[in-house]
Structures are given as C-alpha cells and as structure tokens.
C-alpha cells in the first residue's frame, strides 16, 4: 500500500491538473478585462485622444518593459525611433514633434504597469468603407494555462457596436455570417465594442 502511494497521488493530481487546464479560458479572459477595465479603458481613451493630435503607436520592445519603440506618422512619412524609457531623448523627440509629452509619458507608464506591449490604431474596411479600431496587446495571458504557447492577450476597441454569432465570435458585418479576421486572428466578444483573442504574436 505504502509502495503504491505515489501512484495514488499521481492519479489524484493529474486529473485535477487537467481539469484546471481545461477550464473555460473564454470566461477567464473576459473576467480579466472586467477586473482591469478601469486601467484598460483609461489607456484606450488617452490613446484615442492623443492619436487625434498626431497618429502614433507605442511598442515595448523588451521583456523587462524598459525600452520603447515609438512610431510617429506625418503626412508623408512615418518615423520609428527606439528609446530607453527614462532617456531624455524620448521626451525631447515628443516635444520636437509637437506632441503632449506629459500625457504620452503617463500613458506609457500605465502601459508598463499593466504589461501592455503594443498600442496602435488599425484601419479595416466594411462594405468598402474605411473604419478604425484601437488594437492593444498585453504580455500575459490572464489565465495561466499550463503549456500555453499563446502569450499575448489582444483587445480591440471599436468605435461602433459590432456583430457576433451565437458563440460570441466577431462577424464581418451584419449581412455576412462570415467571421472577421484581424491580423490573422478570430476575435471573441467582451461587450458590443470590445473583443479579445489570445495569440502567439502581439501584432
């Protein structure tokens, strides 16, 4: 009996482990959004407001969240620079491009706190009409699913309510029952305007 104890323990632990692994990740990921809704929507609103002044995107290029890549769009060309977060060059550059450096620095720090890797504005088309959304990638997949290969939790914030099928999957538009792909991923509903997916890549 004593000799078989490890086997019994394994028999109990392994199914419990598998049960945990098989929990509905959909519910957990939606919960993650609601638990951090204030921080996430604060970043989204700040970005949307700053983007109107000048189109830009921010990306953390290292795992330690110490270096950022800043993309600034002008009429003719987009500029991509890399900075250390505390480097004076970063604020100098923002000032040179006549951007609200205090507001952007605040947003970047909020991004770091919540491990947001990338924020960007993406264009998409519905019935040949151009629309845009805010695309936000977070470093950590909220439910720590064992052996999960997909590392990034991606949120999309649309300007208008979207259409979903009965499984909560994002559709191309009202008429078509075709699923919409964004950056090669299918998305799930969180609410009418916000969707999520879990991906191997943050863009």
């Amino acid at each position: 009996m004593r000799r078989n104890r490890p086997v019994y323990i394994l028999c109990l632990v392994v199914p419990a482990f598998l049960l945990f692994a098989c929990r509905s990740s959909r519910k957990l990921t939606a919960d993650y959004y609601y638990e951090n809704e204030a921080a996430l929507t604060s970043i989204e609103k700040a970005y949307a407001s700053l983007y109107k002044q000048r189109p830009f995107s921010v990306e953390f290029i290292d795992k330690g969240f110490n270096y950022v890549s800043l993309m600034l769009q002008s009429n003719r060309i987009k500029y991509i620079y890399e900075f250390e977060l505390n480097e004076p060059r970063l604020q100098d550059t923002l000032a040179r491009y006549q951007m609200d450096s205090a507001a952007i620095m605040k947003m970047i720090r909020q991004m770091k706190d919540i491990q947001c890797v990338w924020i960007n504005n993406l264009d998409y088309y519905v019935d040949e009409q151009k629309r845009s959304m805010i695309f936000m990638s977070l470093r950590t997949v909220p439910p720590r699913i064992p052996f999960a290969e997909k590392k990034y939790y991606i949120l999309t914030f649309f300007n208008q309510p979207q259409f979903f099928d009965n499984q909560g999957r994002l559709l191309a538009n009202r008429r078509q029952r075709r699923l919409r792909k964004i950056d090669d991923n299918f998305f799930q509903r969180i609410n009418d305007r916000v969707c999520y997916t879990i991906s191997e890549r943050f863009r």
Binding site: E59, I61, D62, K63, S69, R76, I77, K78, Y79, I80, Y81, E82, V117, L122, D123, Y124, Y125, E128, K130, R139, K151, Y152, A172, R178, R180, K181, I182, D183, D184, E200, R201, F202, R203
Partner: protein, 312 residues
C-alpha cells in the same frame, strides 16, 4: 611544301574563327538590341491615358472585380505610387516591392498592361506571357481582412496573377491556388525569384548580392548602400521578424522574409543609421544601429534601366 600547307591551314583556321566570332558577336548585339531598353513614361502620360477611359465594361475573366473600383485603384496607383499596399498578413510583399519600378519609371506601360490583363485575362510583359488560372481569376476582388488591399481589386488581380505565374523552390509543395493561399507558401518569393521577375518583366539590369539564408558579405555596408541608392533602385530582402517585431522570442529564424525598397540611408550624428524605406503603402524612416542593419539584410538587389547606349 609542308610548311606552306601549315601556314595556309592556319590562315583558314583563323578566318573560320573570325567568321564564327563575327556571327556570334552579331547574334549577341542583335539580342542585346532587342532587350537593351527598359520602357519609360511619365506620370502625366499615364494620367492622361486613364482619364480618356470613360467606360470600362465588366470583365468576363475577373467576375469579382467591379470596373469602377478597378479604374479607381489604377488611378490611385498612378497618382500616388507609394500608396500601393501588399495587404496585411499576405505574402505579396515581393510583388508589391517589384511594382515600385514600373509605377515610378513606366506608369503608362503599367496602366496599359493591367488594363489588358483585366480586359483579356492575359498579358505579355517583357519576356513573359502571364495567363492566370481560373481559380485566381475568381479570387481576385474577394480577398478580405487584408486592410488597404480589401479595396484595391486591381492590385489583388496583379499580385495573384504574378504569384500564380512565377514559381520557385518555396512553392514546390503548394502550386495550386486555394482561397487563403495568399498568406501561404503558394505566394512566397525567394530572393532568386524576385530578381528573376524584375529581369524578365521589366528588362532592368539587376545586380544581386546575398541569398535566402546567408547574409551578403560587404565590408562597408552603409557606404555600399549609400552609393547604390544614389545610382539606381535598391530593393532589400530583410528579416521581417527583426523589422517588425511580433513577439519577444530570443531565438528567431535567421532568414530573409520580406522585401522593401530602400529610398535613402543617412548616418546620424550619434552613429546610428537612418534608413528610409517603402513598404505597406508608405514611406518609413527608421533609426537603427549598424549591427542591426547588418543582421537585418539578407539580400540587396540593385536595379538600373537598360538604355541603348549603356555599357554592357
């Protein structure tokens, strides 16, 4: 007697050699004359040509491309050539980068060729007869969720037709088009295929350094690129995972995966290098370190026009 015979034989031999050389040289020069010029035209010529087209009937060959959208796309390409967009998450970057050449230097020829492809379902460009398959003809105009490419049916037609025609070792296992293959190996382009396409379609002189897997060995990369950019069109075969970081993996496959057009290169005062390149429908100025630039580039294609008087 024997000596005189030897001298005579030598003379005859020399004459034969000279004759053969003459024939060969005339053959070469004729061949060179045939392929010695790259077509050129101006943007104004192309705009005037398109503005004369008042009505374009629906093509029976491309049932999902509306004529009005096709013409609008073509007009956009001519008026703003840098707006050409390969689409998000497709393998069309090589075809888009290559299209930079006709859009910049022969927009009229490009417009005529695309119109012929739309009207007749086939076209002869340079040395190549492009006859797209029926699957590709049905797919053009239906590609979706690719960003800007969604509303550019003429570009969809052009990219799909090129991917369908030109094949290399990367396409061995996926030669037949199915919907969704624009993201797969069906549309992939090796460095060799890219250079071959430019030579055969546009009759440009192409000098290529590098390969799919091994970086080119150039002593002073910055100086080399700077000099080349001032003399012709430079396309770079780069590692996309380095240029557009997509994850935080430490180990990344060291291969060329993406084509861009290098527009300018400058050394910044702090030793960094500013590269200005074209891809995804716009110009980008990116500041990089010299070591990053070295790691980034797997191939350099230098293209110049063939002119009748240019030295061969």
């Amino acid at each position: 007697m024997l000596e005189r015979a030897t001298v005579q034989n030598t003379r005859i031999f020399k004459k034969c050699i000279a004759l053969i050389l003459c024939i060969c040289m005339s053959g070469i020069s004729t061949a060179q004359r045939e392929r010695d010029t790259s077509r050129t035209s101006t943007r104004q010529d192309a705009i005037a040509f398109i503005s004369r087209i008042t009505e374009l009937p629906q093509s029976a060959h491309w049932p999902n491309i509306k004529p009005a959208l096709f013409l609008q796309n073509l007009k956009n390409n001519i008026e703003n050539p840098l707006s050409l967009h390969e689409g998000n998450n497709t393998n069309f970057c090589a075809y888009a980068a290559m299209s930079y050449i006709p859009l910049q230097f022969d927009p009229l020829g490009f417009a005529k060729d695309l119109l012929q492809l739309y009207r007749e379902g086939k076209v002869k460009m340079g040395r190549v007869n492009i006859t797209p398959s029926s699957e590709v003809k049905l797919a053009a105009g239906r590609l979706a969720f690719k960003g800007e490419l969604d509303i550019r049916p003429a570009d969809q037609m052009w990219f799909l037709a090129l991917a369908d025609h030109f094949k290399c070792y990367l396409n061995i296992f996926d030669k037949h088009f199915d919907m969704g293959d624009e993201n797969s190996f069906w549309a992939a382009t090796s460095f060799g295929k890219f250079n071959h396409m430019i030579r055969s379609l546009f009759r440009y002189r192409v000098e290529a350094k590098g390969s799919d897997l091994i970086r080119p060995t150039i002593d002073h990369l910055y100086g080399y690129l700077k000099e080349r950019v001032s003399k012709g069109t430079v396309a770079l075969f780069v590692n996309n995972m380095s240029l557009y970081q997509k994850d935080h993996r430490q180990v990344k496959p060291g291969v060329g995966t993406h084509f861009i057009i290098l527009k300018d290169i400058e050394e910044a005062p702090d030793g960094r290098i500013n590269i200005t390149y074209w891809d995804y429908g716009g110009l980008t100025l990116q500041q990089v370190t010299p070591s990053f630039l070295y790691r980034l580039i797997f191939g350099i294609t230098f293209c110049t026009k063939r002119t009748a008087n240019a030295p061969q």
